[in-house]
């Protein structure tokens, strides 16, 4: 009889064995609010943009006013006008360069988060022994209450691993 029980147990295992590792799905559409790093980055970019807009405004307004005044003078001082126009152009070029630096720093920070997301997906896959972790965009349909949805765990791991990302601006 014990042989029968062992045989039954073994056949039970063989029934269970075909169940394969699951495929998990994560939804990253809310990453800019759910990832603390990305939310922080967004706030930093916003602050930098405001600073950039303010930084050169007083000088530009003063020079443009001066240029306007010179244009109305008779006789017009062409050399002085040109000098001021050149100063305006230089400031605008600097502002443009600063914006490019900011855009570059933003790209670098986003790449850092992307890399962390890829690593977190690998961790998630390993800890659940999943066959794959798919982005929701890679799927055609996911049942809303599907146990395959691992978004919460992904953000938990991501925020542990990368709570903040630095916006590293190059010197312009």
């Amino acid at each position: 009889m014990s042989r029968l029980l062992i045989a039954l147990y073994l056949s039970c295992l063989s029934l269970a064995a075909p169940a394969r590792a699951p495929v998990l799905v994560v939804d990253l559409s809310e990453a800019y609010t759910r990832s603390t790093a990305l939310a922080g980055l967004l706030a930093d970019i916003d602050a930098e943009l405001k600073q950039l807009a303010q930084r050169h405004r007083p000088a530009l307004e003063r020079l443009r006013g001066e240029l306007q005044r010179l244009k109305q003078q008779h006789p017009a001082d062409r050399d002085q006008q040109l000098a001021i126009a050149r100063q305006i152009s230089d400031i605008e070029a600097t502002a443009e360069l600063e914006q490019e630096n900011l855009a570059q720093a933003n790209q670098t920070a986003i790449a850092e988060v992307d890399s962390a997301i890829a690593k977190v997906k690998a961790v998630l896959q390993a800890e659940t022994e999943a066959r794959a972790v798919l982005d929701i965009q890679e799927t055609q349909y996911v049942r809303p209450d599907c146990p395959c949805l691992a978004t919460e765990r992904l953000y938990e791991l991501l925020n542990e691993r990368l709570p903040k990302v630095e916006l590293r601006l190059a010197d312009s």
């Binding site: 009889m1 029968l4 029980l5 039954l8 147990y9 056949s11 039970c12 029934l15 269970a16 169940a19 394969r20 590792a21 699951p22 495929v23 799905v25 066959r131 794959a132 798919l134 890679e138 799927t139 055609q140 349909y141 996911v142 049942r143 599907c146 146990p147 395959c148």
Partner: protein, 142 residues
């Protein structure tokens, strides 16, 4: 018959417990694997004869008309194709819900993740879209 070879009450109980344990173990394992279906997304998005039929409808409507009316028909054709594409996710969802599925993947993605035994429901999705759109007339200018 020798009584020694007949299973006793105690053994029967053990056997019953084993069967229950076996069934519950299988159920627990089975719950780890979701119900996955596949579709041929490229075919549904651009290869279905339904799109050719819409184009044919537009070509027929464009015969003997000119200028602005022709452009209106072209626009109506593009709009109808967009409507089909917009209805596609809902049609996939409908089939998935009817099958009590957890996930629907494109065939190529399914292959990539090793989901090779999933049932393909492309034809079912196509049937829904055909039923919804194949008999609708093009309505240029609306």
């Amino acid at each position: 018959m020798n009584r020694r070879h007949l299973p006793g009450t105690k053994t029967c109980r053990r056997l019953a417990i084993s069967v229950i344990a076996c069934l519950s173990t299988s159920a627990a394992w089975a719950s780890d694997a979701w119900v996955v279906l596949t579709v041929d997304a490229a075919y549904l998005e651009s290869g279905m004869p339904l799109y050719a039929k819409i184009a044919e409808q537009a070509a027929l409507a464009q015969q003997d008309v000119a200028g602005e009316r022709k452009s209106e028909i072209e626009l109506a054709r593009d709009l109808r194709q967009s409507e089909v594409l917009t209805a596609l996710p809902e049609a996939i969802g409908e089939v998935a819900r009817a099958a009590d599925a957890d996930l629907v993947l494109d065939r190529a993605v399914a292959r990539r993740v090793g989901e090779l035994t999933a049932r393909d429901v492309t034809a079912e999705v196509e049937r829904i879209l055909v039923a919804q759109f194949s008999q609708l007339p093009l309505e240029p200018g609306t």
